[in-house]
Amino acid sequence: MSALFSPFISKPDTVSRIMLRVLLALLPGIALYVWHFGPAILVSIALASLTALGTEALMLKLRNRPVMHFIGDNSALLTGWLLALSIPPLAPWWLVVVGTAFAIAIAKHLYGGLGNNPFNPAMIGYAVLIISFPAQMTHWLTPHGLGPIELGFLEQLKYIFLGALPPNVTLDAVTMATPLDTLKTRLHLDESVGQIFEMPIYGRLAGQGSEMVSLGFLLGGLYLLAARIITWHIPAAFLGTLFTAAGIFHLADPTHYAAPLFHWFSGAAMLGAFFILTDPVTGPTTNKGKLIFAAGAGLLTYLIRAFGSFPDGMAFATLLMNICVPLIVLYTQPPVFGKKEKRP
């Protein structure tokens, strides 16, 4: 079938290749994840991938869309991966499945499928899980060399699928709260930031191990920038605002507020800056709008982390800013050729 319309040439870029490159960009972070926390995360990712593809196919079938045509766009896979990376690796299998299925079926397809969902599906999935199953969402793996006992891969599998731990091992022995969570809890106990950071779970900048994973995501993000898949606006505005907000409070009261770099390398900040907020479908389409959107997300993330009741604010900040996108876009329309003030 030849094209009936001009242009007859096009760049050989496709949605599926773009998504694939985003998936590739996640690999450094995932590799460091495995290095520091063991291979359990790979199980989550595999589960999320299977669920995402299965749900996607089912929904396409129900919506009478060509399944094979859409499933190759890799967007469902990306949603699954992002969700898997946001939840504890040692979570029971059904947690990943429920979250991913909700993300794909409800947050994506009920809104019209690829390109039509107003909210980031992965973050919707995360929000559903953290509200519905808060307990399961707090059991994060302890990095290598810190816990009293470490589970082998088979034992991890056994726990994920059967919920069974080796005899004489409690869940608390192999898991811990995240560095962000720990900070929040301990601050409530009137400890100072300095004292808290003496704990072994903290590394150079942020959490032991997790800071390296964040670094991996930063590397992947730089690749996305270089490959021109994302523009600098969102990461720069998000990290900039987060840094500024954290910096102001840290300068004012270093005993109660952690340093800006801690916030950069904790939780989902790096993943969010380069992979979540940059989702084109749910983000604004103007450069100015991107700056506002990401700055808003950065500020909200900090406020939730410092003053809210959830340890990390990435997901809720993203979703809240998603709501504002149409308005932001409407008011940040760039001037059209021939309709602006004289340029130099």
């Binding site: 030849s2 001009s6 007859f8 096009s10 949605v15 390109g115 103007t286």
Partner: protein, 554 residues
């Protein structure tokens, strides 16, 4: 060194200009048949001035400009007009349009310029001529913008309300594959420069800038030499190669830093822009009295011999494809470049003033785009849009037929360059959505205008009735006062009307019977037979009318 400016966006598609620049411009042989459309320009179609069977000379006017925005059409060679009728032409609709079919006699016999019947003069000394006269000569020579918009040249040269500071000659030729302007500049630079001087004289323009993209070093050198030799203060400006840098608005921006305001013309900011080929044809028309009968067209793509040919207007695409020796796996032809070109429904379609390039295409050369996916709002289209639009929003509105919103988001500032479609990773035919929305909006506006006009006429008619009624009443009153014994009018006004009509029919019949046509002497048998036939038909009609009238009376 002149400061150049930039416009936002633009793309760098593979140029593919080398194959067709390996050899010079060749003259295409005389085809066996020419199909010359009467609408080869923007505006109203020319009015046919010849009939089937007429013999025409090369350069003879066969289509008279009809209306303000219109242009002349000429016989491209001498021969016989075989037919005047609708023929397939190069148009996205695929609909036919009025064309003259010309069978060349092979003699290439020119019109004589001295004859008063030809409205063209030769050898204008343009500096001592009235610009209006020069414009008329251009109009009657069919000089239109050969860059693709084919807007009548004489209209663009009319004095406006603002002085023209800059005349720009567009030799950018930004679209891939096309090299006709490149080759024209290489080979006929002197004529182009002379033509530019004439255009400048008519516009009373200040500086003259000749913009050429930096991928045409030979054309730049040739034009620079021609300018130097002419001693004219023109400047050849090398502009960076970027698509669509050859679009008038974008080129004006690059050369002058000015932006043509939305909905305005370049002349509103003191700039006018002509394609180099238009300057060339203006020169031929004014200096040699030569109407636009041919143009340079590139044949390239899936061919053995990519080259530029000087082709007579009206030559079928097939003939040019044969000259280029299209390869056997060619399955379609495009008129224009790969970015904005038009797929042709058949090779019978004639080459016209707007045709700059014919690309023989195959699936190998232009692999079909993968099936479209939904828009993911990745903004690539907005990044490359030379008009600073948000194509993904316009697409959204066009797709959902929210035309008023599309219009508010500046749909009509879209120049349909196709850069957005080129980069779209979802392979959405964006330009087609915009074309659809634009033509839908235009049609609605026309309908609205027609409705408003009809309302006005209807209201006026009612007002007139009212007035007539009043006048009649006044008259009646006056008459009644004057004479009280007025005869009683017929009881039934409908009956009276019927009687009047019957009387009219009777009168018409009498007249028809009584009147003898004046030129009925010396008729041939055939003519008599025709007359008899017509009379018989009339009689039949009168019978019908009568029976209808009687029927109604009952």
């Amino acid at each position: 060194m002149r400061t150049l400016y930039q416009f936002n966006g633009g793309i760098h598609p593979p140029e593919n200009k080398e194959p067709s620049t390996q050899s010079g411009i060749a003259r295409a042989p005389l085809p066996s048949k020419l199909v010359i459309p009467f609408r080869q320009h923007a505006g109203a179609a020319a009015k046919p001035m010849v009939r089937a069977g007429d013999r025409v000379l090369k350069g003879q006017l066969i289509g008279m400009p009809d209306g303000f925005i219109s242009s002349a059409v000429h016989a491209s060679t001498s021969g016989t007009i075989a037919a005047i009728g609708a023929q397939p032409i190069a148009h996205p609709s695929g609909l036919p349009d009025l064309c003259a079919t010309l069978i060349p006699d092979g003699r290439e016999e020119w019109i004589t310029h001295a004859a008063p019947s030809t409205s063209l003069r030769t050898g204008f000394d343009y500096r001592n001529s009235d610009p209006a006269e020069l414009r008329q000569q251009l109009r009657m020579s069919g000089v239109v913008g050969l860059g693709g918009a084919v807007f009548p040249g004489d209209i663009k040269l009319r004095p406006g309300n603002r002085k023209i500071d800059t005349l720009i000659l567009n030799g950018a030729e930004c679209e891939p594959y096309i090299t006709c302007d490149d080759m024209l500049m290489r080979e006929r630079a002197t004529e182009i420069v002379q033509g530019a001087a004439m255009l400048r004289f008519m516009l009373e323009a200040g500086e003259v800038l000749i913009g050429i993209e930096d991928n045409k070093p030979q054309a730049i050198a040739a034009m620079r030499q021609a300018v130097t030799e002419s001693g004219l203060p023109f400047e050849v400006v090398v502009v960076p190669t970027i698509y669509p840098g050859g679009s008038a608005k974008q080129l004006i921006r690059v050369l002058t830093g000015l932006e043509v305001p939305s909905g305005k013309l370049p002349t509103d900011i003191g700039v006018q822009c002509f394609n180099v080929a238009t300057a060339y044809s203006a020169y031929r028309a004014l200096a040699h009295g030569e109407p636009v009968l041919s143009r340079i067209i590139t044949i390239t793509g899936n061919v053995r011999r990519a080259q530029n040919f000087e082709v007579l207007l009206g030559t079928p695409v097939r003939d040019l494809a044969a000259l280029g020796e299209a390869l056997p796996d060619t399955d379609r032809y495009l008129m224009g470049g790969p970015m904005m070109g038009l797929p042709l429904a058949s090779t019978d379609i004639p080459l016209v003033k707007a045709s700059n390039c014919i690309i023989a295409a195959s699936d190998k050369l232009f692999p079909p785009a993968p099936p479209a996916l939904p828009c993911i709002r990745c903004m690539r289209c907005a990044e490359v849009c030379p008009a600073d639009l948000q194509p993904m929003d316009l697409f959204w509105f066009s797709q959902s037929k929210e035309f008023d919103k599309a219009q508010r988001f500046s749909l009509f500032d879209c120049i349909e360059c196709g850069a957005c479609s080129y980069v779209c990773p979802s392979h959405i035919p964006l330009v087609q959505y915009f074309q659809f929305a634009k033509s839908e909006i235009r049609a609605r506006e026309q309908d609205q205008q027609a409705a408003d006009h009809a309302r006005e006429r209807h209201e006026f008619r009612e007002y007139r009735f009212e007035r007539e009624k009043q006048e009649k009443a006044e008259k009646l009153a006056a008459r009644e006062q004057a004479a009280k014994q007025a005869p009683a009018p017929s009881a039934n006004p409908a009956d009276a009307m019927q009687q009047k009509i019957q009387a009219a029919i009777a009168r018409a019949r009498e007249q028809a019977a009584a009147s003898q046509p004046k030129n009925t002497e010396n008729l041939t048998a055939q003519q008599r037979a025709e007359i008899a036939e017509i009379e018989a038909r009339r009689a039949h009609i009168h019978e019908l009318a009568k029976s209808a009238g009687e029927h109604k009376k009952e």
